[in-house]
Symmetry: C2
Subunit: 279 residues, 2 copies
């Protein structure tokens, strides 16, 4: 697997680096970013938190705006931030910000024209961790987190693969995509009109019947413009109640959907993951 380093910045004693590589899963060149904490300089292998970003984002938003490096450096955790979709001139796209490039929704598309490249579920679950673990000084210990569309992705990945992740967390996740406009639009395009096939990518439906648990933390701002129509954390909470899922859901007064909200609570999330990741 060839991988090209695009940038390097020292940050809190560790390193923020961007890479590109040819993804077999997605059939295109992909960029991702990794934060390597200072502990790796002494030969220590560290666990990884995978961060999945929201609509319109790339690998850069979280790394630049979340203020996460400080805590990751203290805890000795690497963070990997993939892009939010396949990219490129030969990759299908849409004029909307909520479909196509920048809006992969972390699913494996089955419908044309999306099924050629849009396989972000497999990419984040399999190809990217295999690459990261073959190239960087990291252990096989993984957690997953994300924001909005990426919060949905993180929850779905952990709920469907409890053996793979030590913990999962989300900010403002799209908790019940089968019942909100963002989810209905994306799932109809990527997965087709048979809504029965959507359930495999709906965190609330998955959590309702979950039997193996991954510790889960969700933060949601109550001043988030998307809360009632798109995010629906109450569906996730109801599902956790039914299955007895270990979900901690915090409603945060006055906070919105922005990275200022994420920055305010990312320390809690990283310490949560830090408690579940073996060193």
């Amino acid at each position: 697997m060839s991988i090209e380093n695009l940038s390097s910045n020292k940050s809190f004693g560790g390193w923020h680096k961007q890479y590109s590589h040819r993804s077999d899963t997605l059939g295109c060149v992909m960029r991702f970013a990794i934060y390597l904490p200072p502990q790796v300089a002494s030969g220590q292998k560290v666990p990884v938190v995978y961060w999945l970003s929201g609509l319109t984002c790339t690998d850069e938003n979280f790394m630049q705006k979340a203020g996460a490096h400080r805590v990751a450096a203290e805890l000795g955790i690497a963070i990997v931030a993939p892009d939010t979709s396949p990219r490129g001139d030969d990759v299908a796209n849409d004029d909307g910000y909520d479909l196509g490039q920048g809006a992969g929704f972390y699913v494996n598309a089955t419908e044309s024209p999306w099924n050629t490249h849009y396989r972000m579920y497999d990419y984040v679950l399999n190809e990217l961790p295999a690459l990261v673990e073959s190239v960087f000084p990291v252990t096989g210990q993984r957690s997953v987190a994300g924001h909005s569309m990426g919060g949905h992705g993180a929850l779905v990945l952990a709920l469907r693969n409890p053996q793979t992740y030590q913990s999962v967390s989300a900010f403002s996740p799209i908790s019940n995509p089968v019942s909100c406009p963002w989810g209905k639009k994306a799932f109809a395009a990527y997965l087709g009109n048979d809504t029965g096939r959507w359930a495999a990518y709906d965190a609330s439906l998955l959590m309702r019947k979950a039997q193996k648990f991954v510790p889960a933390l969700v933060d949601q701002g109550d001043a988030d413009n998307f809360l009632a129509e798109q995010l629906r954390p109450e569906a996730l909470e109801a599902s956790a109640h039914i299955s007895g899922y270990p979900l901690e859901l915090n409603l945060r007064e006055g906070y919105d959907h922005s990275y200022y909200f994420i920055a305010s609570f990312i320390e809690d999330h990283l310490r949560f993951h830090g408690r579940h990741l073996e060193r």
Copy 2:
């Protein structure tokens, strides 16, 4: 003075807000951002650190990328980030990123066409603080800090106005603009070819003959691409040695010119200002 609120985000228990106002000094509409720490909610007035950004920046770069809100919230300090130049269709501009809009260099221009609007020195020293102190719950206690071109601006403002600022700090400042390409280009355009008039805006020349002191902290990465040609901290250090100026200059191994460097050490800078600002 009328002022319009453009955005509001809760952040670390306080508020990040953007405003626009008509500036008499600059003759155009200006945007700035303020971080108000949680202490103001209980009626407490707080001191202000003015943050001056570098070339191509707006009020947003520092607020989004520096991770400063966490520490400002803890210390009870407001941060005000102005734009880096006058803006607008009727404001003179240049194709270069290092002259014109986004590159005001915190001077009062004397040369046409720049002298119509480019008076960032007066704006940051007088008009903006008067506006901020009339509208927000802040005291008259001020410190000033900045990055690159903004580090130059912060040092010049504090060196020329020691009665106005309690402390000054800079990341990667343009320390001796009269002798570097960025400074020569901007000063020739804004101030004319009589280099004798440039000295009033050169931190190293000002510090060399300073008699009243403002505690000063400077951080500089040794992997900064601009270090040798543009920044010249050694000139500032030599001047401090001559005048006995209380300058702490830290050379940081491996760090570059990016906001990852600023984020890594902003806590030190805010705690430094916090020690000098009365509550």
